[in-house]
Amino acid sequence: MATDHREAEQPVNTSDSDFQEDVEFVETNCVPGKCNSAVFDTTDELDDLTLNLANGVIQNHRGTITSLIRKRAKRSNTLKDEEADQDLANSIASEEANSIEQSELSSELSEDENVKNGLEDLSLQDTESVPEESPSVTLIPSSSETDYVNSLEWKQQKKHIFILSESGKPIYSRHGSEDKLVTVMGVMQALVSFVQDDKDNLRSIVAGDHTFVFMNRDHLTFVGVTRGRESTQQMLLQLTYMYNQVISVLTHSTLVRTFKQHRNFDLRRPLSGAEKFFDNLLNLMDVEPGLLLTSVRCLPLDSSVRDIVSQTIVQHAKVKDLVFALIIAQNQLVALVRMKRYYLHPMDLHLIINLINASESFKAAESWTPICLPKFDATGFLQAYVSYLDEECQSCLLLLSVDIEAFYTLSECRAKIKERLDRYNALTAIGNSLQRHSYSVQQCSIGDLRHFLYKARSTAQYTSPELGPPYNTPEQQDRLFGLYHFLHDKVHSVSRPLKLLYHVGKYETLLGWVTQGFELYAVFGPLVTKNVAIHAVNKLLRWIKREEDRLFILSSVTF
């Protein structure tokens, strides 16, 4: 076990070097939330991403595209034409050399040096030269769009997400209308295309405190720009969710077929009306750790109640072609029943949650809506029957079928399910659990522990307490989320993955711990020593173990 903390970093203060000896690190049998029968498909998207990154070269193109293009221009010149190269070098040396009025020298060229350069240009029958100052991808001011992009409000957004087609046509922008960003999207496409021309892929650009992350998938380019704490990898994960959302609306087959036939296709048309799903998904990603952890949060519920709910579904929704049946309450999973041999991936479940979360219309009536779940089957639509079970619209029932005609059958199932859940007071139990707001960190009775995320890897589920002081303001919650991003990135670092990280920050001490069975991210007060933190998380694991029946879905229920 001693090897487990070999990797621990000691960034600020770690005086207790003897902790390796005296800390009983972990009871190996204690992996709360572990289960042997599969609840979810648990292939970890982050692992996939890591693999992708590790296989390819991670390219951080620092600098502007101007210098890139100039470098390229120079290089091709060297190959082709020594003289022209000289001309290029001269021109770079002299900023004024570019002021040539058609074939006449402009009056601005007063210096001998400039005249000489100008003449050299002419003698080459080549009146173009490289202006030092003018950027290669010029945004000529004057249009309203430029004003908009330069507005403080737009620039100061913490994170931007753009989707554009491979021809550079705008599809979506999180902030501002994509209509006003036609030029910016063109620039992005030019950047991507420029690097692709070298049989390479543009992955990210770091410019000051902004990171630009690019992802090309199926004729689409996804661009994330952040000055928050998300790493390139984490931004890629967010862009992957966005891609999945596109697929969820269109299916992969339709997307590919459309662009194969019409490269200039304007994808805004079929996506019109879906903007709210993109917006909402991005908002969820800023507050919901489940997307970062590619895992699902279950509504804390007595296992007896949860059993009643899932058994009710099994009995009353045993219908041909019904693949998944689930109940979701306030972004938390209450119960899931699946067809044998079919698994729901957490990333798909997040799309389902997003569907419900972003749309008010499900509250008004029973609905029948197509949804593509990319991890399940990206080529086609499942039909989702969606209906809330209670007056307050808290518990939402979803029945996902491959039968396009099943609406009325499923509507009958819903009536039976609701009737029986009412009879057993299960809906009241769900309501009560929602009212209690999960649990507070004090309930774990571990001093100095402020907050934590615990993910059981085998079940792809996570749990965390509600956000109490000092994380009771949006700013502080945002900061806490940034800390989790930092911690998550460090332990999942591509170049140097860590098993354990103890980090003393300015306002809190962090402990990240990843084993084969779980991931734990814990936030303590600033004065906690490593020893205390280790003891605390061991205690925490025991607490979660005691509560695991309530916090996790441990057994998978099938039709």
Partner: protein, 206 residues
């Protein structure tokens, strides 16, 4: 798809260096002209909103570098263009002769679905200058052999015909645009075979 959004057209301007591509674009979008010559490195982008047959169209105009050594943006740059403006200088016959290769180059790189009917427009620029080297008839003749490409004689300097030329691109591109719809009459239904969904890769060896 009931509420159709505004239409966006990607238009690419091609032609030899110094024929006035950037000037045409600036004249068209910003109503400005400068005698100062600056080479375009890579590309410039401008957008302009116009009305075509009562529909609001946003034109995303991609001004390219004429000079070979700055044409470094790659083939992807031309992808998905809705229209293409070929520009030559009426005082420089060699820039007119280049049109063939510009057109071919574009068709190869952009590989539009229907190259015969791709919306090109040819512009003979700098008609304000005295020393005319390419006659209108000669240019018209070339356009005719390439499937009746619309031909315009312009002066970016004096704002002659610029508006009309770009309007023609927009109009012709729109004509092609209308018959495009999403290719999903009925998306493929999912068939449950039991093996298209892999069972979970259990991370936990215990």
């Amino acid at each position: 798809m009931a509420s159709r959004k505004k239409v966006l057209l990607k238009v690419i301007i091609l032609g030899d260096s110094g024929v006035g591509k950037t000037s045409l674009m600036n004249q068209y979008v910003a109503k400005k002209f400068s005698n100062q010559y600056k080479a375009t490195i890579g590309a410039d982008f401008l957008t302009k909103e116009v009305m075509v047959d009562d529909r609001l169209v946003t034109m995303q105009i991609w001004d390219t570098a004429g000079q070979e050594r700055f044409q470094s943006l790659g083939v992807a740059f031309y992808r998905g263009a809705d229209g293409c403006v070929l520009v030559f200088d009426v005082t420089m016959p060699n820039t007119f002769r280049s049109l063939d290769s510009w057109r071919d180059e574009f068709l190869i790189q952009a590989s539009p679905r229907d190259p015969e009917n791709f919306p090109f427009v040819v512009i003979g620029n700098k008609v304000d200058l005295e020393n005319r080297g390419v006659s209108g008839r000669r240019a018209q003749g070339w356009c005719h052999t390439k499937g009746d490409i619309p031909y315009f004689e312009t002066s970016a300097k004096e704002a002659i015909n610029v508006e009309q030329a770009f309007q023609a691109v927009a109009k012709n591109a729109m004509a092609q645009e209308t018959d495009v719809e999403l290719c999903s009459e009925f998306p493929d239904p999912i068939k449950l075979s039991g093996d298209n969904n892999k069972p979970q890769g259990n991370n936990c060896p215990c």
